[in-house]
């Protein structure tokens, strides 16, 4: 759904006023679009580590994510809506994660499953990305090491809730993020701040 309010308004007819500002028709359309998107999320599983096991349990019959319209795991980024990153991401894997995200067509969302994907978890080391939000934008963080399937389901429901609050009139939602001249997607200071240790690990020393 590619709606450019400016382009439509240039037409200068009644249709322009119809969808360039929120009204009864667009909010009904939002409801319909968001309802169908939220209930047919196709996940792209990106499973570098142990949290993946919990997602497998979530996908299997006991917890059964097909209740959420999600049983079709993509395994190809080109036919997926939500990237589910379950596990720690080492720096060596960071460009692959970014590339998979870039290959996914809009609309797309991202769920970060577990402490490691969200913050680096116990791996506050030279090898590990301290939270995949330094690499790709994340919509829902699920805490836990690993989170239980109930936690993952709750995260999925939060994402559905978020999707149901979106509007086709918001031009900022579906914008692809491009790398800056340094090849990064966030300011270095923002990456440093996101990567700061928290909780117990602030008491660790910065040296070896």
């Amino acid at each position: 759904m590619d709606v450019k309010p400016g382009a439509v308004a240039a037409g200068g007819d009644a249709a322009a006023g119809l969808i360039s500002s929120p009204n009864w028709i667009t909010s009904r359309l939002d409801d319909l679009v968001n309802w169908s998107r939220a209930n047919s999320l196709w996940p792209m599983p990106f499973f570098p580590a142990c949290c993946a096991i919990e997602f497998m349990a979530t996908a299997a019959s006991r917890y059964d994510i097909s209740r959420f319209g999600m049983e079709r795991l993509g395994y190809t980024p080109r036919q997926a809506d939500v990237l589910i990153c379950a596990g720690r991401v080492p720096f060596k894997l960071a460009p692959m994660l970014r590339r998979i995200w870039d290959q996914m067509p809009q609309p797309k969302w991202c769920i970060s499953v577990g402490a490691c994907a969200s913050s680096g978890g116990i791996f506050d080391t030279y090898a590990m990305v301290q939270g995949i939000d330094a690499i790709i934008p994340v919509d829902v963080y699920i805490p836990g090491c690993p989170p239980r399937p109930e936690g993952i389901l709750y995260g999925i429901m939060l994402l559905q809730k978020k999707i149901k609050g979106e509007s086709i009139l918001d031009p900022t939602l579906r914008v692809e993020q491009l790398p800056d001249e340094r090849g990064m997607f966030l300011r270095p200071a923002a990456v440093d701040e996101l990567s700061e240790p928290f909780g117990n690990s602030v008491h660790q020393t910065r040296s070896a």
């Binding site: 720096f91 060596k92 960071a94 460009p95 692959m96 970014r98 590339r99 506050d124 080391t125 030279y126 090898a127 990305v129 301290q130 330094a134 690499i135 790398p179 340094r182 090849g183 990064m184 997607f185 270095p188 200071a189 990456v191 440093d192 996101l194 990567s195 660790q204 910065r206 040296s207 070896a208």
Partner: protein, 207 residues
């Protein structure tokens, strides 16, 4: 299995190489022989090829750096004799004042290839004569040093932002290429019958 008595190979080494044997000890039932760096390759070859020793399987090559900064680094070879079913551990000491280098044993055991690359990657120890001494766990061009050295900070030397930048700007294809993963060049090293079988099936040689 050996109990606390030393593996007889230690005495045999002592008799054969004398001055090249720096020391021998038994720890947790395993015999550990420390040998001189210059003759390590020769000693390993002897252990592998002498019928009475027959340590034909190289279980692991690894390295140790002790917290005591005065102590030398050690390269550790864990050997196993398949026919005789005995372990032997060989160590080579590398003082830190000298260049960290030791002769590669890839010519004796092909399996040492990646093991030595890992030691090089993590400790910066060069293996002379290694056919392809590159990093293996960290990527080529990793600029922060050798992570398992004691002077390496836990979180690396660069800021997190710089680490993310370096990670994002490298091209995965450059280091995870099809060529690197290809097995085509191993074809010539297969046994004759295996090669013929592959050729009949239209494998690398046939295609």
């Amino acid at each position: 299995m050996n109990g606390a008595s030393p593996n007889p190979s230690a005495a045999a080494l002592q008799a054969r190489f004398g001055g090249a044997i720096v020391g021998a000890s038994v720890s947790c039932g395993d015999t550990i022989v420390v040998v001189a760096r210059e003759r390590a390759h020769e000693i390993l070859r002897w252990l592998k090829e002498t019928p009475g020793e027959a340590y034909d399987y190289l279980v692991d090559v690894t390295a140790v750096e002790y917290r005591d900064r005065e102590r030398p680094l050690e390269v550790v070879y864990q050997l196993w004799s398949l026919p005789r079913r005995v372990f032997l551990r060989l160590k080579v000491e590398l003082p830190k004042q000298e260049p960290l280098a030791v002769d590669s044993v890839v010519d004796l055991w092909r399996g040492a290839d990646w093991l030595e690359r890992e030691v090089y990657d993590m400790f910066g120890i060069a293996f002379r004569g290694h056919p392809d001494l590159r990093r293996i766990l960290m990527w080529d061009g990793y600029a922060e040093g050798h992570p398992l050295r004691k002077d390496f900070p836990l979180r690396g030397r660069f800021s997190r932002a710089e680490q993310v930048r370096q990670a994002l700007t490298k091209t995965p294809e450059a280091h995870h290429s099809v060529e690197e993963l290809a097995v085509a060049e191993a074809f010539q090293q297969l046994s004759n019958d295996a090669r013929q079988k592959l050729e009949r099936a239209g494998g690398p040689g046939g295609a």
